[in-house]
């Protein structure tokens, strides 16, 4: 291969604010080390590309998210704490986290079961179920709310009316998080060697023992990352609840709705305080997922 010309060794630090990275250009010729250049170091053009990409990413994502944290801390710790510890906010956070945990638990069981059936079972219409699984992901959230209202709302053909109750929050979370565990477990299950299970069975392991000792450990990382995504999605859900849950304080008001009403009331610091909690949880999930995928890659 041709050695790339003008390779840069050192790219400016990536974290500082926008614009900093764009100055990295072709200034580093004199820094060339005697050892051969790695083929993967940045060229001037790719360095410029990285600069532009980081500038846009900072303007769109990093600076605004940082602004949330700054705004949340604008009034100092006491104001931050006060915003979070108002009974209404606490009730909203409690409802959100509680229902998200519950929904994630249901998803761990149902998502794994659905993935199992989709991979190991054969029946007419299975292809249709594949599409059905992804509908909650593709459907606009406001439409998802309308959809759930039609079966579980006031004019339900089932005769139930769960609109404006905490059950509505549970249903909405369950709907929007449906694909996550299915879609993370399914590919792993496809790759799993059926011979290993057969070997376990032929050595006298019962179906349940095989599942517990052979299949479950290989699925665990996929289930864990799907569960993390599903929890994260649930606590941040907004659109599907607007029409469905009635947004009643102390009863069906979730964290996102609380943030929305603070924004609409122009209480930006309060909104940012609650938002900061959601952001930190999102960050923790991202880091956990990164660690899980690294661990899996190491054992693969």
């Amino acid at each position: 291969m041709t050695p790339s010309v003008g390779t840069i060794d050192v790219q400016p630090a990536l974290t500082p604010p926008a614009g900093a990275a764009t100055t990295g250009g072709p200034r580093d010729h004199r820094h060339r080390l005697p050892r051969a250049k790695s083929a993967t170091s940045l060229t001037p053009i790719s360095g410029l590309g990285l600069g532009i990409a980081l500038t846009w990413f900072s303007l769109l994502v990093l600076i605004p998210l940082a602004a949330v944290l700054v705004q949340a801390s604008a009034g100092g710790w006491s104001a931050y704490w006060e915003a979070l510890s108002s009974p209404q906010t606490l009730a909203a956070l409690e409802l959100t986290v509680g229902q998200a945990v519950l929904v994630t638990a249901v998803n761990i069981v149902m998502g794994t079961t659905i993935a199992w059936v989709l991979v190991r079972d054969q029946f007419a219409g299975k292809q249709l179920l594949e599409v059905v699984i992804d509908i909650p992901f593709a459907l606009p959230t406001i439409v998802a709310g309308l959809v759930l209202l039609s079966l579980y709302g006031p004019s339900s053909p089932l005769g139930v009316n769960w609109a404006n109750t905490p059950v509505a929050v549970f249903l909405a979370f369950l709907f929007v998080t449906l694909p996550f565990i299915v879609r993370t477990v399914q590919p792993v299950l496809l790759e799993l060697e059926q011979e290993v299970e057969e070997a376990a069975a032929s050595l006298g392991a019962s179906r349940f023992t095989t599942f517990r000792l052979v299949i479950l450990p290989s699925l665990a990382p996929a289930i864990a990352s799907g569960a993390a995504l599903s929890f994260c999605r649930a606590i941040s859900e907004y659109g599907s609840l607007v029409l469905l849950s009635g947004n009643l304080p102390y009863s069906t008001e979730v964290a996102s709705v609380r943030i929305m009403s603070s924004v609409e009331g122009d209480h930006l610091t309060e909104a940012a305080a609650v938002a900061s909690i959601l952001l930190v949880v999102a960050l923790i999930v991202i880091i956990t997922l990164d660690l899980i995928s690294r661990r899996v890659a190491r054992y693969a």
Binding site: S46, L129, A138, P140
Partner: protein
């Protein structure tokens, strides 16, 4: 492996549980919305969709989604190439950070953009407004919010493909004298085209349906900044048959687009994992 009767019962039980679960959670509710939309026949639906507010909302949604997808495609391909083909300090952090928008609540996205770009209180908003641009409560804000929430979708599709195809062909092209641009156009782009197309369709579906973030940054004024999803919310909450039909008709169109996108995606990728 020979199947005992116990296994067969188990298999049928699991199958029924899964079908029942999906029927009550997704299939029946979605079918009910379709039925409700056309309960009064086709004419009221068409009339509802011909209202100027509805046409405007869909036009705004389409154009915002279009620009968001264009931006995300260029950015996504660029970032994917950088993440896969190059090493630089902070690459791992960037790799994890690009997934962040998928985990952030749309409401937080809206709030974050308002805090920076609002003309009244934003960090950068005042300067931008003095330069003659309005971001918040205007189409640029809607495009930014939409681009934010769908940002990782192209990257997540392109990165695995780029990793899998390796660099041999690209290196061969370069050593035969092709420029970087030629190599990209003749080798890399054709190799990633299906992954890229999949990512684009996914982004488009997500962009058309964005609600929470757009609600905060747009203000949702009819005929000015009201997108299709915001229209559904407003009309559903108003009284009257016409409003209700309008909400259902607009929701039906959005759902239809989503399902078509899904079918395109599923057919682009027949049998997950077959390409391996």
């Amino acid at each position: 492996m020979h199947e005992t009767s116990g296994h067969r019962v188990m298999r049928w039980a699991l199958r029924l549980i899964v079908i029942g679960y999906l029927f009550f959670l997704v299939i029946w509710p979605v079918a009910l919305v379709a039925a409700k939309t056309f309960a009064g026949g086709l004419a009221p639906v068409i009339n509802a969709l011909r209202q100027p507010e509805v046409i405007f909302a869909f036009q705004l949604t389409l154009s915002a989604a279009f620009w968001a997808v264009v931006i995300n495609t260029m950015f996504g391909v660029g970032i994917s190439l950088l993440l896969v083909r190059y090493t630089f300090p902070g690459r791992r952090a960037l790799n994890a950070m690009v997934d962040l928008p998928l985990s952030v609540s749309p409401v937080v996205v809206g709030l974050a953009l308002v805090l920076v770009y609002s003309g009244r209180t934003g960090w950068l908003g005042e300067g931008i407004e003095q330069a003659g641009f309005q971001v918040i409560y205007a189409p640029p804000g809607i495009i930014m919010a939409t681009a934010f929430v769908s940002l990782p979708l192209v990257i997540r599709e392109v990165v695995p493909v780029l990793t899998e195809i390796g660099t041999e062909q690209e290196q061969a092209a370069r050593s035969l004298g092709a420029s970087a641009l030629q190599t990209f156009g003749r080798i890399t782009l054709p190799a990633i085209r299906w992954g890229l197309l999949y990512g684009v369709v996914l982004s488009l579906a997500r962009s058309l349906g964005e609600f929470g973030a757009v609600k905060i940054v747009s203000g949702g004024v009819a005929m000015r900044t009201q997108t299709a999803t915001l229209l559904v919310e407003e009309r559903y909450q108003q009284f009257g048959v016409v409003n209700s039909i309008t909400a259902y008709a607009a929701a039906f169109i959005l759902a239809l687009i989503a399902v078509i996108a899904l079918i395109i995606i599923t057919s682009l990728r027949p049998g997950r994992g077959r390409s391996r």
